[in-house]
Point group: C2
Chain length 197, copies 2
């Protein structure tokens, strides 16, 4: 089945998905971030068909996430080393791992991120490096960037209007008496939208 190419889409998420390719690629990156480098190591870990593994490794090399490096001349053997771009994929892997542990490991986690200096399990949290605020606060919203085209601006601004409406409806139905007046609560969101439009 032919998959539509996301590469021409403006959205950074779509471009990321285009670059990484498919599920196997993410699991190969997972193993590379765990320290695996060689074909037989990936094959053993993933239980993947050799031709499929070759294709996915080549694709990750083409995308600039892995670098192919010869480690033996006789016989000629290569290993696959993460590039800076590939190493930077770690934050996505940590986010996937955290979500998976939280929701899909009812029997308890099988993979943890630990602080090797203390042996303590890490509690991955996303914050804004500038203000230190947690990014799961409703204060943080997506907005069109400086290079957004008209379609992207329309989509995000439309979406934000909808979100504001939904929040207003929620507030009206769930907290009819105790809620603060709706307009002031919405004000910062609207101000930001006007600024970025």
């Amino acid at each position: 089945m032919e998959r539509k190419s996301f590469g021409n889409m403006q959205c950074p998420v779509a471009r990321t998905l285009e670059r990484v390719g498919e599920w196997w690629s993410i699991l190969i990156l997972r193993d590379a971030l765990h320290g695996l480098t060689r074909f037989d190591q990936f094959q053993k870990s993933l239980d993947i068909a050799p031709n499929m593994l070759t294709r996915r490794l080549n694709s990750l090399v083409e995308s600039g996430l892995l670098e192919r490096r010869q480690y033996s001349e006789r016989p000629p053997r290569h290993e696959y080393i993460l590039t800076d771009l590939g190493r930077d994929f770690r934050s996505i892997l940590v986010a996937l791992n955290t979500w998976g542990n939280k929701h899909f490991a009812p029997e308890g986690p099988s993979v943890l991120l630990i602080d090797s200096t203390t042996g303590e399990e890490a509690e991955p949290v996303m914050i804004d490096g500038k203000s230190g605020k947690r990014l799961n606060s409703p204060d943080f919203v997506f907005a069109p960037g400086p290079q957004a085209n008209e379609g992207m601006k329309a989509r995000i601004n439309f979406a934000r209007e909808r979100a504001a409406e939904a929040a207003a409806n929620d507030a009206a139905t769930t907290q009819p008496a105790t809620a603060a007046p709706a307009k002031p609560a919405k004000a910062p969101r609207k101000k930001a939208a006007a600024r970025s439009a």
Copy 2:
């Protein structure tokens, strides 16, 4: 082409990929997290074939990421609302967005995360909520969790040994004179590995 099911794999990343399904699902979740709820809104945003969109929406409902809710009786119309599980996917979306902006938007970002109270662009950073340390520190390593089976333990511990070797080789080749002695630098990593094995 038949895709191998990752659902029985122990790895939380594999289970997450199994649940979310495929690229379209991630873009639908992106739009839902931006506030879209209705079939025609998703279709307009994604430029996706209606039968494909129906399949992906149904799959996200089955997976528990979206909830289908009737909003009009005549004509009968439904919208798709994020569940708690779906809303929690936001951290993965932010990680994808950040990586995409950093590496695949040479012309400048088209989608930003902003603090709507100040209008400032957020700088997404992952930290350990317990210690406040940034997770991109090499101190943080993956380790087998309490429910890891023997295969998972072997894979992670093997990978960590390899990573430690690679780090030792890097240290030996790149900093022959100025580096601190290699053994003490490795010690915490080994201690943690022994603890979690």
